[in-house]
Symmetry: C2
Subunit: 216 residues, 2 copies
Amino acid sequence: MTNAPPTTNATTQGMRDEILAYKRERILQEAVTLFYERGFTGTTLDDIAHELGVTKPFIYTHFKSKTDLLAAICLPTIQMSLDAAITAVESGGSATERLHKLIVDFTRVVLVRQPNIAVFFREEKSLERAALAEINALRLRFDRTLARLLEEGVAAGEFRLHDAKLTALAMGGMISWAYTWHRPGGRLSIEEIGQRMAELALQMAGASPPSAMHAC
Amino acid sequence: MTNAPPTTNATTQGMRDEILAYKRERILQEAVTLFYERGFTGTTLDDIAHELGVTKPFIYTHFKSKTDLLAAICLPTIQMSLDAAITAVESGGSATERLHKLIVDFTRVVLVRQPNIAVFFREEKSLERAALAEINALRLRFDRTLARLLEEGVAAGEFRLHDAKLTALAMGGMISWAYTWHRPGGRLSIEEIGQRMAELALQMAGASPPSAMHAC
DNA sequence: CTCGGGTGCTACCCGCCGGTAGTGTATCCC
DNA sequence: GGGATACACTACCGGCGGGTAGCACCCGAG
């Protein structure tokens, strides 16, 4: 089943897989849009199918249940947030530079994938236990990664703060919260918001003068 | 109907009203607990009634629908947040002192009424349009109140920040987010969290030395 | 004892929606 | 042209839960 397709050659097989992946992706797009606008329970599978110009059983050939669809919306996005944090922390440079990068990149994930983030935080209770546990493990790692970076910064004499864990939660909240107020096409672009949030985070961390503020 | 009860005297009437209010309050207590644990759509009115040792029609004598119940959970809590902000801003003292008070008091509302706050942010989409609009008006006033305080602080030379609106959103998010991670009986008490959040907020605002950090 | 009003219950309805079984049809190889 | 395969559709089910109609009970008043 994994190799050597029975009735057709490898090229055709490869393309078919791409098409399958594309269909799956389109379903996810519509689903997240509707869940974002109307809520998970406020959206029926018929709604999603209708929006795609197909019917409900079509969705069931790609996802095994409505909650499976929800998990497929949430999990990869939370994974992306964690990846952004890890990449930033492991990149070269001072703690200050790495925190700046972490905040900018994390903000980008939150705002670019705003509907997914919003759906996750709202519909947490609709996820199956296993899926929720998996996601919460990722979130925990995110918080710890950020807290460790803050501690490194303190050890290096770059930051001044009392409680790395609490500060990490505060920073995480400050950024995550943006899903509630950001409007695409608003006053500030995603990159501008990221820059300013990074400055605020550095001030919160008590970073040394040169970074956040240009005067004094 | 509002006065001069037909069959009984004023004292009895007063007590009956108190009992009515008490029943209403008990329903709200159970409802918010269950909505918090299982989600709005994951909780049936029968569940709530069962927990109270009554039946579904009992609830309908106090609330006209399930969404009415939801609004009664959310609105007063958001109102409390706004009240805390206004009271703090209008209290005497420097901008620094008032921001400190605002954060401490707002944090207290968020954490003491954590289930209500959580239910509101999760179940926004289940509220009726009118109720949601009313609540969103309160939230807008909250953000503006905080932003104005930040601007006053800048004008008074107490704060240093680029963008009062964004900073207000960041601070609001930092605190609001606590509903997602706070566990009663955890490492820090509600008052301790409030204190530390206030320190972080002051650093974010670029408040002058004496306040947030005790060394240097 | 009887009357009446207030209060909460039993019993029910009905629409909605997640999920499925079975069928039609386009495609491709021989 | 014929047969197999994959794919998506039509049509249906079943239960769940919000909301309601009407009844039974309790209690105070006369």
